[in-house]
């Protein structure tokens, strides 16, 4: 999956309009990145990428770029 595809997917997860998400967007600026957003993201990591994340792991993700870096480090980004 490319970076653009991941950002598009995150846009669906966090119910954002196309182009609204960029790597430097902070969790605090994304209203749907709340507790339900975290659950949705965890489920997405599991089902889309085979990554089982803990609540502590999720807490470390504070920006869109952190998600990209995580996926890159796990070999899930092209």
């Amino acid at each position: 999956m490319t970076e653009e595809q991941v950002i598009a997917w995150l846009g669906e997860v966090f119910e954002c309009r196309a182009g609204e998400l960029t790597a430097d967007r902070s969790r605090d600026d994304i209203p749907a990145w709340d507790s339900l957003g975290v659950l949705t993201l965890m489920a997405g990591f599991d089902e889309k990428f085979g990554l089982v994340m803990s609540a502590d792991d999720m807490q470390k993700l504070q920006r869109v770029g952190d998600v990209l870096a995580l996926l890159r480090s796990r070999g899930k980004l092209d």
Binding site: L36, L39, A43, S54, A55
Partner: protein, 167 residues
């Protein structure tokens, strides 16, 4: 009293009562993986009075809740320690045909993922082997201590007791 489960009526507004146990019976259960359950749609359901006069159909929101309750039982049977499954998100839902009074809704749920913090399920409602509705649901878990001391899933308990009693 509730005619379905012989429990005291839960609440009342101007004489209208509504219990919220939307699964009558579990037919098959593989904990944490799959469940098939059923709900008989009685013509006497109170919601038919308003939904709709002359055209009684089960509200989609209740079909969704039926699917969620069935999937929740499948998850709770897998692991009671992580808490009570609670519907967190309706990822998608489709309603393909009307479910009418007198029909028997068969509730099928396939658990896609089941983790300590969340679970996802593909669910559907069938009537006479025809798919009437389907939904993808996301669950979270709430500690059992948050519920009343007497909380029990009577439908699940009855199924498990019956299963244990079988030779």
């Amino acid at each position: 009293m509730c005619s379905r489960c012989s429990a005291p009526a839960a609440s009342s507004t101007e004489g209208i009562t509504l219990r919220f146990i939307l699964v009558d019976e579990i037919l098959e259960l593989t904990p944490g993986r799959e469940i098939i359950a059923q709900r008989r749609i009685s013509p006497d359901e109170e919601f038919f009075q308003d939904h709709f006069p002359g055209f009684p159909v089960v509200p989609g929101v209740l079909l969704t809740e039926m699917m969620a309750q069935a999937a929740g039982k499948c998850l709770y049977a897998e692991d009671t320690a992580r808490g009570i499954p609670m519907l967190a998100k309706i990822t998608s839902a489709s309603f393909r045909d009307w479910v009418r009074p007198g029909q028997v809704a068969i509730l099928r749920s396939h658990i896609r993922s089941s983790r300590p913090e969340f679970a996802t399920a593909d669910c559907q409602v069938d009537v006479e082997n025809r798919q009437m509705a389907d939904a993808q649901l996301l669950f979270t878990f709430l500690p059992r201590e948050r519920f009343g001391a007497g909380y029990e899933d009577a439908v699940l308990t009855r199924f498990l007791n019956r299963s244990r009693a079988r030779p």
